[in-house]
């Protein structure tokens, strides 16, 4: 039972990552890049809870760290997405209460991902991490991710629930 679920998670992450680096990051958008990988992690965490969230987050983060054209220290996105996957998973029970919960979680994790990643960079004296750069990314990251979530999150949740064998609402 766990095997197809893991395979589906891996497939979702690979597809999201491929789309992210070849399509989304090339869109002529000012500021941040819509983060489809983050949405996959958040989606699976919301559907299946903190344990799946942090495992998916770690795997997806490591993939983001390694796949070209990544050029930063390996482990930075792994750290960020592990933590955010876990935290998003904690909100699993709340998702049934209101449709706004997933949107709020996406907004919060988008904000958190930029801040955490920049924070890790600041700890390592990354010359690229500056306040103006962070400031420019923050609002756009939240807006793009929430907009993208409106399309992508229902699909991710549906896939996760179907694989889970749970009857759809």
């Amino acid at each position: 039972m766990a095997y197809p679920r893991a395979a589906v998670a891996v497939l979702l992450v690979v597809v999201a990552l491929a789309l992210q680096v070849t399509l989304l990051s090339r869109l002529p958008l000012p500021g941040a890049t819509p983060d489809l990988v983050l949405l996959v992690v958040v989606g699976l965490a919301l559907a299946e809870g903190p344990a799946v969230g942090l495992a998916t987050g770690f795997g997806a983060g490591l993939a983001v760290d390694l796949v070209p054209p990544a050029d930063h220290e390996v482990g930075r996105w792994a750290f960020v997405l592990t933590l955010l996957g876990y935290l998003a998973g904690l909100a699993q029970a709340e998702t049934r209460r209101s449709a706004f919960v997933p949107i709020a979680v996406v907004a919060a994790t988008a904000l958190g991902s930029v801040l955490l990643y920049a924070g890790l960079g600041a700890l390592m004296d990354d010359p690229n991490v500056t306040w103006p750069a962070v400031n420019r990314l923050l609002p756009t990251a939240v807006v793009y991710d929430v907009v993208l979530a409106a399309f992508a999150l229902p699909a991710i949740l549906a896939i996760a629930r179907r694989v889970h064998g749970e009857p759809q609402r």
Partner: protein
């Protein structure tokens, strides 16, 4: 429990990679090139799919709703429009290749052409792209990358079929620059894709002005930068003449937000091409007015 374990793993990975970065042989580089070997082809396929996707969406969006002659004709029309657009794309690409070959010829650089297939997301704070040429094509780390307009960056890491390019606008990249027609030299440092480059001139007395044009000075042994590649145009100058160093804002020739066809210089020219590679000055119009009009003034973020 698992959370703590994975977080600690991440942190130790970061530490290993961070420590190893100094003596440019991180144990994780192996892992990285493995990932490049596995995911590079995936990116190539995805990039090949992604570019005609929008066209296909256009073409298929109206399929299947109704029958009849009108519908058939409309589809035929769409098909022809799509083909026309594709040939336009081809023509665009041919023009890019023309410009590239012209530039490479003018500088006598021997180049390997490549296509940008993936771009790093802005959230990583670094400006890197993946190209579809690797060690198989003779691409090695620390080679100059250019396109028909000028300097793009340098090869950071090279896998078998793909390579990662650090763009000149990345804050990590610092390029030796020379003012056109003089021996005034300085360094440009990347300021991100929206700001361009910062120029720092070594001689505080130098008379640099808006509209001056820059080429690469060329590094020791032409690694990582070959000499004579057009860099950009000085947009504005800070500091008065006589101060310790003079800095200027440079607008790069290359449009880094729309990179497509690039070339890796696999063999530097035998002789410094000096200013021969710079585009001809537009006749009649004074250059400063041309460059100033492009400046977006209301960019508060800086």
């Amino acid at each position: 429990m698992l959370l703590a374990l994975l977080l600690v793993t991440s942190v130790s990975l970061i530490t290993i990679d961070y420590r190893g970065a100094g003596d440019d042989q991180s144990p994780l580089d192996r892992l990285r090139s493995l990932a490049a070997g596995v995911f590079g082809p995936v990116e190539q396929v995805a990039a090949a799919i992604a570019s005609p996707v929008s066209d296909a969406v256009d073409g298929f969006s109206r399929l299947g709703d109704g029958e009849g002659e009108a519908e058939r004709l409309r589809q035929r029309n769409q098909e022809l429009t799509r083909r026309l657009r594709t040939s336009e794309l081809d023509r665009n690409r041919a023009a890019e290749l023309d410009a590239l070959l012209h530039l490479a010829g003018a500088g006598r650089y021997r180049v390997v052409p490549a296509q940008v297939i993936a771009v790093g997301s802005a959230q990583t704070f670094s400006w890197t792209v993946t190209i579809d040429a690797g060690t198989r094509d003779g691409v090695r780390p620390d080679m100059t990358v250019l396109n028909g307009d000028g300097l793009v960056g340098r090869v950071k890491t090279a896998g078998r079929t793909t390579a990662t390019v650090l763009l000149a606008v990345d804050p990590d990249s610092s390029v030796g620059a020379r003012l056109e027609g003089s021996m005034e030299v300085g360094f440009t440092t990347g300021q991100g894709i929206e700001t361009g480059l910062d120029l720092r001139l070594l001689d505080g007395q130098s008379s640099v002005a808006a509209g001056d044009r820059l080429v690469t000075f060329g590094s020791q042994g032409s690694t990582p930068y070959v000499p004579g590649v057009p860099l950009g145009v000085v947009r504005s100058v800070q500091g008065s003449p006589g101060s310790q160093t003079r800095t200027a804002v440079v607008e790069p020739y290359v449009d880094f937000s729309a990179l497509d066809l690039v070339a890796v210089v696999v063999q530097p020219p035998r002789k410094d091409p000096r200013d021969a590679v710079l585009p001809p000055r537009p006749a009649g119009t004074p250059t400063p007015t041309v460059t100033v009009t492009v400046t977006p003034q209301s960019d508060g973020g800086g």
